[in-house]
């Protein structure tokens, strides 16, 4: 008998009531059918207001759905048994500022029914994991946003969850912190855990996720592996060039994407590659690197969402 998937939603719907006197309904999430497979990292992306946070609040019981069904490991939403197997990190977690991280983790552990000695051990482990061992006994009143986020991550792991629900886990973190969380997610995947994390930082979704679910105006627009979704056949190459003092001339078939001081990033079709490199060489430039360019999630995003393409440049085709 196969184990049920960690999370399945069918027709999950939620509307918010707007206005006091003349009430109307604003749909926040419409008919969400989503399945999270065991052991995968699923990115949940979409613009602000698309319903990402609403989904997570519905999943964790903070909101009641208007319609639809949710099953965690085959168990219905109302049952509390599945909560022992799930960890949750909300966006901007507020943790009691009069407690220390150690105390908070202890409290969380008690709520999971973890016995005292085990709690102590877990506390130590988790605080080391998120790099807060030295601040373990400081009241969180003084913590920076980044530090609080780390405690948030730690408390989501107290019960060794099989499924993690993370709402914007990178928010508020410095590059070190972001790397920490990224590595953590990868580590969890390696250990066979399942992760669902929502983000609007598309590069994170790109690097970490097996599959991506795209939400727009409350509806699920696309779900699939990144490779399927993004156009790989375009076979564009990205060339990093040290520009000559006189600047780079316009080269047929080459598109300037970005200038960084004395370097330039150029996009070239595979078939024109050799010729363009030769032209750069003749002009006195130096090729620093060449790599295949995959359509970025960001571009896909903007294309699908109909937004303006970013990073406009005065030279080259837009």
């Amino acid at each position: 008998m196969e184990e049920p998937p960690p999370l399945v939603t069918r027709g999950l719907t939620k509307s918010y009531r707007v206005g006091h006197i003349r009430q109307s309904f604003r749909p926040a999430l419409v008919d969400l059918d989503l399945e999270v497979r065991r052991g995968e990292v699923l990115g949940y992306v979409g613009p602000n207001g698309s319903g990402k946070t609403t989904t997570l609040k519905l999943l964790t019981g903070l909101l009641r759905p208007d319609a639809g069904e949710v099953r965690f490991f085959g168990e219905p939403l109302e049952s509390r048994a599945w909560r022992h197997r799930v960890g949750y990190l909300p966006e901007h977690p507020y943790l009691y500022d009069y407690l220390t991280p150690a105390e908070y983790l202890d409290y969380a552990g008690r709520l999971f029914g973890i016995p005292g000695a085990e709690r102590r051990e877990k506390r130590r482990e988790l605080l080391a994991l998120v790099g807060l061992e030295r601040s373990a006994d400081l009241p969180m009143r003084r913590f920076s946003k980044g530090m609080l986020q780390r405690v948030g991550v730690a408390q989501a792991l107290v019960n060794d969850p099989e499924l993690l629900l993370l709402d914007e886990p990178m928010s508020g973190l410095d590059p070190l912190g972001r790397r920490l969380v990224r590595n953590l997610i990868l580590e969890l995947r390696r250990a066979g855990k399942t992760v669902l994390f929502s983000t609007h930082i598309l590069s994170d979704a790109e690097t970490l996720c097996d599959r991506v679910a795209v939400l727009r105006a409350g509806r699920l627009v696309r779900v699939g592996a990144l490779g399927e979704m993004l156009d790989e056949s375009a076979a564009q190459m990205e060339v990093l060039v040290a520009t000559p003092a006189a600047g780079l001339p316009q080269i047929d078939g080459a598109t300037l994407r970005e200038t960084l001081g004395d370097r330039a990033r150029i996009e070239v079709g595979e078939k024109d590659l050799v010729r363009v490199i030769g032209a750069i060489d003749s002009a006195g430039g130096r090729v620093l690197s060449v790599q295949p360019l995959r359509q970025s999630l960001e571009e896909y995003f903007f294309r699908e969402m109909g937004g303006e393409r970013g990073g406009g440049n005065p030279w080259g085709e837009g």
Partner: protein
């Protein structure tokens, strides 16, 4: 079931820790002590009043400051958690809304108990130190004061599930004042003969009868509160709290945290 109880206790213990670390509590206790000391002074200035004044002030301080704590911390228990969203993290765990709600309630009730205990101890110490007896009769009035405070907490929590913390505080204070004027309500028809009996009786039944829990005057004259009265008072308070808390629980359970 055992798991549920231990979770409630965990929430209660954390709530107690929270109220202790909130400095508001210390300020209030400080003022209560100040009041007691001023009681000593007032007693000296008056004629043959020292012991009575001391007891009057001690009991009044317990009632007054206990009420402040019950209202403002009681409202904050739920409102603050909702407004700051610290709640979200907790509810995702195997902690039911009911366990959370009751745990918070239990934590504050315990805080009040400790608070009242400290102030009672202080009063008795002052009485003994100034050469008067530690009259155990006072306890028969302190216990109903405590019950009254528990009722206030229940209201504070109910209102805080329904509305913002400011409005909840105002409503709770309103209930406290109305309850203290319960005799005015009962005798309303003397002042307003036109008031319909069913309305007056209904109001009187609904409003918490804090005046009925007020035995401060008689114990300062050495009249203990009789045992059967204490029994009825306990029953009334327990049932009342259960109803109000039940309403608060129902409200909290059905809330959407947008």
């Amino acid at each position: 079931m055992g798991g549920g109880l231990s979770r409630v206790v965990a929430v209660a213990a954390n709530t107690f820790r929270e109220t202790v670390r909130e400095r508001v509590l210390y300020n209030l206790v400080f003022f209560a002590i100040l009041m007691t000391l001023s009681g000593l002074l007032v007693g000296q200035l008056s004629i043959r009043q020292d012991e009575k004044v001391l007891k009057d002030i001690g009991l009044a301080a317990m009632d007054l400051f206990g009420t402040f704590i019950a209202v403002f911390i009681g409202v904050g228990l739920v409102s603050k958690e909702i407004e700051r969203r610290s709640l979200y993290l907790l509810l995702a765990k195997p902690l039911s809304r009911g366990e959370f709600f009751l745990g918070k309630f239990a934590g504050l009730v315990f805080t009040l108990l400790v608070n009242l205990g400290v102030m009672t101890g202080g009063l008795y110490m002052t009485l003994v130190a100034t050469g008067r007896g530690a009259d155990p009769i006072l306890l028969t009035a302190i216990y109903p004061i405590f019950l009254g405070l528990v009722i206030v907490v229940a209201f504070a929590m109910l209102f805080s599930t329904l509305t913002s913390s400011t409005l909840a505080s105002i409503l709770t204070v309103g209930v406290v004042v109305a309850g203290r004027f319960s005799d005015v309500v009962r005798n309303m028809r003397q002042v307003l003969p036109g008031a319909p009996a069913w309305l007056v009786d209904g109001l009187y039944a609904i409003i918490p009868d804090f005046r009925g829990l007020d035995f401060k005057s008689q114990v300062t004259y050495g009249d203990p509160v009789p045992g059967d009265v204490l029994l009825f008072v306990s029953l009334y308070a327990a049932a009342y709290v259960a109803v109000v808390l039940g309403l608060g629980l129902a409200s909290f359970r059905s809330k959407d945290f947008q």
